[in-house]
Amino acid sequence: MAFDENVKTEFKVIGQRVSRPDGIDKVTGKALYGADLSAPGMLIGRVLRSPHAHARIKKIDTSASEAMKGVKAVVVNSDLAEPEDDFFRDVKDNCLARDKALYDGHAVAAVAATSRSIARAAIRAIKVEYEELPSVTDVDEAMKPDAPVVQEGRADETVPAGSGPNVTTYLEFGHGDLEAGFAKADKIIERSFKTAATHQGYIEPHACLASMGADGRGDLWCCTQGQYNVRTICAEVCGIEATQLRVTASEIGGGFGGKTTCFIEPVALALSRKSGKPVKIVMSREEVFRATGPTVSSSSDVKVGMTKDGRITAASAKLRYQGGAFPCGTVEFGAQSAFAAYDLEAVRSYGWNTLTNRPKEAAYRAPGAPMAIYAVESVVDELCQELGLDPLDVRLKNAAKKGTLASYGPTFNDIGLVATLEAAKAHPHYAAPLGENQGRGLSCGFWFNFGGNTCVSLNVNHDGTVGVVEGNPDIGGSRASISMMAAEELDIPYEKVRTVITDTNSLGFNDVTDGSRVTFAVGLATIEAARAAKREMCKRAAQIWGIDAEAVVWEDGAAKPSGPNAGDHPPMTLAEIAADMDSTGGPIAGHHEVNADGAGVSFGVHLVDTEVDPETGATKILRYTVFQDAGKAIHPDYVEGQMQGGAVQGIGWALNEEYIYGEDGRLQNPMFLDYRVPVASDLPAIDTVILEIPNPGHPYGVRGVGETSIVPPLAAISNAVSRAADVRMSELPMSPPRVLKAMSER
């Protein structure tokens, strides 16, 4: 989409820090989350999970459980429909295991009972006969030719002959002559890296309430990032026509990408269909850790060549990702983003996705990018150290800009990387002195961003207020930003607009809330819907005035005659037109439906100071500054929140968070005590600098901001720790035992 010809550069509402519309409900406890809805006669659903990392299910005997008083339904895999498509069949087999339990915590059966305690007893009464199989959880181990086979026959056509049995996809791309490029380098560094799987760590566990009637019609209330996506999956997995299943998204207690698929919803629907009663399932935290999607874990080799004056001559990355027991495509995002920040003559990326006996990977903020960029930015930093170069100058010297051929194919349009790097360089943080055992690190980050299918209605009410109806759960402040864009376009106060998120039967299809798409795509559709409403209101005014609709313009929140020839009519405000709408043609509404293109890519730079305790290996984050291009920050508080939140999740990922598996393939830390997300006292105030390099694809210049911010922290912190500890770190998390060991071996 070309830059909007009516592009606004002066804003009244956009850029203000208005009150958030969900604030009072959330702080008073009134907001309804996934587990907060109940229905008359409701049953409690509970899931039986595999205690084994890998086991053939020889027999499931549910008879004793079904015979128990208070047990109303028991379901297994065969109680679900059989989707033809591999994708949906994998979701189904993840919701309830088919013939093998593929990871510790894999759901095997589920019950619905009249109480929690009966449900618990009923689960214990199910007898499962397992034949234990060898398991593999490490990505490098899983790629070996003699590794235990997680699933047979899942390699696609990209996988070269002779690859290990668990490799599902292979890719390779780039441009230029690597050999010639490396020959021009004064220094070449090649290193291997590993990153642990980390969980999105949303505070609200998955929860849903399902009700299937005898008439084949169903209602589902659930905590999700996309009610339409839930409908699509459940329709396929349960064999229900889309229109017969109405899905309503609850308020959401965090998602970060992890709530873009289904784990319990099809199971609750199947239990409800079988029992004839509403069924609620609420996951425990342990279930969330064991059986919902963390991100991939990775292993990589990165090679970069540089001249003495800091020009990168060639670069390559070999990325190996495991996404659990089902095929995933995440390595592609990693390979594509690995070198996005650089203008390179010779570059090549290679990627492998492999299966392991772990839970199925789910999206986590910029999926695949953080671990790839971590490896690349670590090697670039080490080259800067070895060659005695300033790491920001080197990034600037090699920075991608408008016209750069990206390693993954496209040529960049307007991007904000150089401006972001320059902002970091000019910031006092970059020049601040460091003390003993302290180090400063930085990293660039990148995310593609997404647009996608979007449908918005904007309704003008008789009293001059406006309702916006959209279909994407609000995970980062979108109700505020959508209302702001509607208010800006209509030129009415923000307080006169209320945005609600509706169910699947009340609005056309919307893609899931992912890809940092909502402020961009739903915002764009809202602006267009507002413009449609304005056209209609101009028409109504023209009708009242008895002039042509073309002779009316919308200014200052009112219809006005467009020139002297249009006659001398006093402006009619939105409220005045709305009050009269019954007699001028009925309801006034604007709509817009689009598969939005043109989501601009977003770059960020993170700067961090750390101090490492030489006696314990503990890392303290002393100072942290995020620089990011937002295109246009609609609501700066939320934009800063996204930047800070990404940095904080990245700090956890870099320092302590990890899925720890035992030799038996069982997850050892399925709880927040031993899965260590940062707590408030671990963190300094995260400083933010928003840059605004307008995205030509959005009427106000918006770029998505939700994901880029989790990309740079891993390398920025690793570079800071490596400099503070005087030893190059190459594995995440940099937990104290690992850092202390590295220091003792330097």
């Binding site: 006696e615 302590n656 202390l740």
Partner: protein, 287 residues
């Protein structure tokens, strides 16, 4: 599951000794309720003791303090005289869980939970605390370090429970301190920990020292050799090195998700050193 709130120590003891099934004692409840919720245990009998006489009191006794088994960490923290006399014990108790948990949790519960990583235990051991045990055969006083016998296990017999902890009187020029290592800054469980309790003479020479370490053995350990290494010194480098060596020698930790043997052993020594320096400063010593 039965819940009983007995009217006397004797009644509680009878209930606990006569129950054939699994029993749990409820004081602060910050371990028991979590275990129930996470389905770790389904007790047949829960006996609530926190209302019994003296359980909620901190009283002076022989120049020291008797702390009832139901006194939560937060109340100890706010008791000025207790806090001034035993800052190391208090800082251990103040590290259990979160602020909310500290309004309920008790040192006795922390002790009887039997975790080698219990935050309040090394401070009590270093302090030479003595617990009063009530049981079917009456009362007995037991040094605190003799209560835990292994992870989740105590030396208490069936029907026995602790009613109070006694912290002795403090001489002039004495101080204690507790430190733990956690990968975060709060809301965590000790990977290793150490407490030191020192008494000095007028010129700052250590006359008595007790060092205890946590999370590095099946139980919290009193390391007598570590204390001995400090006696007669002003915490010079040699004394500290000897003390750290004694601590490391006393460690027999496990390798697990929270830390390696090597890491736990090394940091236990480092924490003991740092705790000793803090305790020395609190005792009025200066170098």
């Amino acid at each position: 599951m039965k819940y009983v709130k007995p009217e006397s120590l004797h009644a509680a003891s009878v209930l606990l000794s006569e129950e054939p099934g699994t029993t749990r004692i409820l004081a602060g409840g910050t371990d028991v309720l979590v275990q129930l919720r996470s389905e770790v245990v389904e007790p047949d009998l829960i006996v609530d003791l926190k209302h019994l006489e003296g359980f909620g009191d901190i009283t002076s006794e022989d120049g020291g303090f008797r702390i009832g088994a139901g006194v939560p960490s937060a109340e100890m923290y706010e008791h000025k005289a207790l806090h001034a006399a035993w800052p190391g014990v208090i800082e251990g108790a103040e590290l259990i869980g979160s602020t909310q948990i500290q309004g309920r949790c008790t040192m006795v519960g922390n002790l009887c939970n039997g975790s080698p990583a219990g935050d309040s235990v090394p401070g009590m051991v270093a302090a030479g605390a003595v617990v009063r045990v009530h049981g079917p055969d009456g009362e007995r006083d037991v040094p605190v370090e003799e209560i835990p016998t292994g992870p989740g296990k105590t030396s208490l017999a069936k029907g026995e429970f602790i009613t109070s902890i006694f912290l002795p009187a403090r001489p002039e020029r004495s101080g204690d301190a507790y430190l733990r290592f956690i990968p975060r800054t709060e809301m965590d469980i000790a990977v290793s920990s150490a407490a030191a309790n020192l008494e000095l003479d007028t010129d700052g020479t250590v006359t008595s020292a007790r060092v205890a370490v946590g999370a590095v053995a099946p139980t919290v350990r009193l390391v007598e050799e570590a204390g001995t290494a400090l006696v007669g010194s002003k915490l010079d480098d040699t004394a500290i090195a000897n003390m750290m060596a004694a601590v490391e020698a006393a460690c027999s930790p496990i390798d697990d998700k929270r830390g390696t043997v090597e890491f736990r052993t090394k940091t236990a020594g480092v924490l003991a050193k740092r705790a000793a320096h803090i305790a020395y400063e609190r005792a009025g010593g200066s170098k």
